[in-house]
Amino acid sequence: MERRNFLQSLICAAVSLAAPLSTQAKVTKNKPRFRYLRPPGSLEENEFEARCIRCGQCAETCPNRCIKFFGTENGLSSYATPYITPREQACILCMKCGDACPTGAIKSIKRSAGTIVEQVKMGKARVDENLCLSYQGKSCGVCYRACPLQDVAITVGWMEQPHVQEACVGCGLCERSCIQIPQAIKIIPNYS
């Protein structure tokens, strides 16, 4: 608990302090921000911010406690909206947050592989072959084992090199489980 608190304050400090060196025109372009995921079933980013009333029930029902909330570091318009940092705690696709959300900002989606693959679009995993152990000839396969949609969202080669498929919903369990630091597989969110 203490360490977590410490880390959070540090991360917030990192983002608020990060500033680009370049000229005025490049300031907005180089504005540092987080890579974060919205909870599964979330609407498109602008619509999500308009719909979400910041009640926090998604996080309260999350059995995995992976949903956290923005302060002011991501801009005032996303203040107190929910997000997931897959590296710290990834989504287990239980779909409870969609049922808890009163506003429909997070859609209610039935918990079955078919509907999840079809409707959940948090992001898509990407493998960094320079970092991935399996691509360096050291068979690892941890991400493949962590994936809730094995062989649908992720397949492996003969040395367990991961290949991300179209069906990947971006839950982030692979990123969470990756034993490399920096992680060799990470979710590229859908909004960016």
Binding site: M1, E2, R4, N5, Q8, S9, N46, E47, E49, A50, R51, C52, I53, R54, C55, G56, Q57, A59, E60, T61, C62, P63, N64, R65, K68, F69, G71, T72, L76, S77, S78, Y79, A80, K96, A100, P102, T103, G104
Partner: protein
């Protein structure tokens, strides 16, 4: 009848405390649920283990905490209660302003609070709001400071400022496309911050804002934020304008002692029949009245000023 009404203020304090305790308990239960869901008991630290055991002890009739405790979730801002979803009217108005979209399942969640407000007026502000709980304790702190001859705030502003805050809050919500009223509404802030502190390991920026409102109440204007700035209070005032239950003064048993006027958190003037839409039916004036002149009645309008109480000096001097 009057004797029961005398105790309403105590009942109100019980209600406020209960809401606050629930607001602390729900995040704790949520953390407990996540421990249960992970079958993590053996992996917990000693302090977490005792936390787990306390939570287990607090929920004796729950056999499947992971799912059964989902029955009650949320805060006073928006909650789900045994399948019934309830939402603060301000959240609904704010969301309509931000997205200009009507999503009926959500709007219907405001039906019960709005109906109750039309009948009971600003009862949310007086009986439920977790910020009211702290603000009233803060008022008492102010009284204590005052009795120690320390300066406290006695400023007055126009009560209608809160309608402007509501209006501009909604305009800003519209232009930013984001429900910004949620960021400055104390009960929503408190619900959130308690969750952050318990489940996410630290208070957020909302706490800073809330502390500032406490200081404002203490050193600028008594209950200033609620009376002059709260956008939710503005919504409830408008909705509760023609409330059915309201406090009236029975002029024949009033003795002009002014205790009701002094005790009123919102500095309304029950002794002059001056309640208006700001009264949050808190019943503190009923409890303090020595002659039982004040009581709840069913009446859609305040009685016009009835002049001095019949047991007071002014009235007797006039008539003799």
């Amino acid at each position: 009848m009057t004797s029961i009404q005398k105790h309403l203020n105590k009942l109100r304090w019980i209600s406020l405390s209960l809401v606050f305790i629930i607001l602390i308990l729900l995040p704790c239960l949520s953390v407990y649920q996540s421990f249960v869901a992970a079958h993590a008991y053996d992996l917990l630290s000693p302090s977490e283990k005792s936390f787990y055991e306390i939570m287990e002890w607090l929920t004796p009739f729950v056999s499947d905490p992971e799912n059964e405790l989902d029955m009650i979730k949320g805060t006073t801002w928006s909650a789900s209660f045994f399948g019934i979803k309830l939402t603060d009217p301000l959240a609904i108005i704010g969301q309509l302003a931000a997205g200009l979209q009507i999503y009926w399942p959500f709007i219907m969640t405001g039906l019960i609070p709005v109906t109750l407000t039309i009948i009971f007026g600003r009862f949310f502000c007086g009986w439920i709001c977790p910020a009211t709980f702290l603000y009233e304790l803060n008022t008492n702190l102010g009284v204590w400071l005052h009795s120690a001859n320390l300066p406290i705030g006695k400023q007055h502003f126009d009560r209608r400022i809160k309608y402007l805050v509501l209006f501009f809050g909604l305009i800003l919500s519209f232009f930013t496309g984001s429900v910004l009223v949620a960021a400055i509404y104390p009960p929503a802030i408190i619900g959130r911050e308690i969750y952050y502190a318990i489940a996410l390991g630290g208070f957020g920026v909302g706490s800073v804002f809330f502390i500032l409102t406490l200081l404002f109440d203490l050193f600028v204007a008594r209950r200033g934020f609620c009376r002059y700035f709260c956008p939710g209070g503005a919504v409830y005032s408008l909705l509760g304008r023609y409330r059915v239950f309201r406090i009236n003064r029975n002029v024949s048993s009033c003795n002009d002692c002014k205790k009701c006027t002094a005790i009123c958190e919102f500095e309304l003037d029950p002794m002059r029949d001056n309640f208006g839409q700001e009264c949050n039916n808190c019943s503190a004036c009923i409890a303090i009245c020595p002659t039982d002149a004040l009581k709840f009645t069913m009446n859609c309008k305040d009685i016009a000023s009835q002049g001095p109480g019949h047991l007071g000096h002014q009235y007797s001097e006039k008539n003799h």
